[in-house]
Amino acid sequence: MNARHMSDEDLLLDYYGEATPEQHAEMRAHVETCAECQALDRELRAVLALVDSEPVPDAPPGFEREMWARLEPVVSGFSRTNEVRLKADTTAADTAWSFEFPRWALAASVAALAVGSFALGRVWDTPTTSPGVSTADVRELSERMLRSEVEEHLERSQRVFVELVNADDSAPVRLASDRERAADLVAAGRLYRRSAEEMGDADTRDLLEDVERVLVEIANGPEVESSNDLSEVRAQITDQDLIFRLRVMTAGMQARERRARPTW
């Protein structure tokens, strides 16, 4: 028999498959020949089996229906306003690119929520007929969803900037994919910027505005540029500390989200 007995920690890790194959083989060989470790192993497994026996309360009857009743005012609100809003937005756009709604919504997923937030903003004072959801709930939910999407938008913008700043100077840079990404981000960013303005969030609005200017440069640039040609765009990114500001803003949003407590 192996002289070293197994600890409960060893046995637990083995039980959960977290031991390496070698450790597993060694432990099983030992347990087979050691009455003390066999007893400990059986006890652990028995305790864990008792845990498995605990019934988890089922959701109340009609839970799914009630859940949808809570969600529907927010989710449907976004969808109902998407088409009209996006149409108006793309018609008024002063840039060369255009977007087809479903593809655009799929790619960015973000603008739909921002647009919905506008719509909700206009009807926040209208009582909802859905059970269990107040207009304040809808407002808070829409704001949280919007923050979440703006955070993702800022992270994507940051990635584009980081890649450009760190691009290899020794070879021409192919910008076709960057242009497409930037164009998507410009369209979504405009909606978010208007949302931030409506919500009185000047810091976010200002950052989105600065980010958008650089993204427009990228989106309108040629498909292939020399590193020298990129220097102006890089200078805009670095001179305005855009990457740092984006990191600070997203870190702040993540911290706020962690602190947020559902109140509905």
């Binding site: 859940m67 998407n82 949280r144 962690r258 559902p262």
Partner: protein, 189 residues
């Protein structure tokens, strides 16, 4: 033949509200069970499931077709539950918000009661398991349940909880030791 989850998600990604509703109706009850095991409170569980769906809706564009829909939903639900536990902890006591260690869902500590002869009914065993689980700290319970019930690896759990692997292991070890102490009267070796 019923439509597959990835197909439903694809439709929801295209803005189909009925598809999103189908997801809510198919998976809400399952998510209730996942979240309840972590927070041990029906009302909070309902709120967290709601929050989960809002996040799911916001993140539909991030779902990758090769992923399992239920795994994706579970991960979002677990994160929502963890966020809730962290904020709940902070509301109840102004201590380091990153540390959930001393949070338990019941104010009074559970004192194991010896005397297996008085506790012979299965219902009492279940009650003891539930009581013991509720008396684990939030981080112990979360780490343990993610490993034991959800089958997540320790490194994955550590990543979700923001803990090092060693700290995650110790959370699970402590949870199991507390359960061994509390459930010893029911275990015949």
């Amino acid at each position: 033949m019923p439509e597959s989850d990835p197909a439903i998600v694809a439709r929801a990604q295209d803005g189909d509200i009925d598809a999103f509703r189908a997801l809510v109706e198919h998976h809400s009850r399952y998510l209730f069970g996942v979240v309840y095991r972590l927070v041990r409170n029906t009302e909070d569980t309902q709120d967290i499931v709601q929050n989960t769906w809002l996040k799911v809706h916001a993140q539909l564009g991030r779902f990758e077709a090769r992923s399992e829909v239920r795994t994706w939903l579970t991960r979002i639900a677990v994160n929502c539950a963890i966020d809730y536990l962290r904020s709940s902890k902070r509301r109840e006591a102004a201590v380091d918000p990153a540390d959930l260690e001393d949070h338990a869902t019941q104010a009074t500590a559970y004192v194991p009661q010896p005397g297996a002869e008085r506790l012979v009914l299965a219902g009492e065993i279940e009650a003891r398991v539930g009581q013991t689980m509720s008396c684990l700290t939030a981080i112990e319970r979360t780490a343990f349940m993610l490993r034991h019930v959800e089958g997540m690896s320790i490194s994955e759990i550590g990543s979700e909880l923001g803990l090092k692997t060693s700290a995650t292991k110790h959370c699970i070890f402590r949870a199991v030791r507390k359960m061994r102490a509390a459930l010893a009267p029911f275990v015949e070796v």
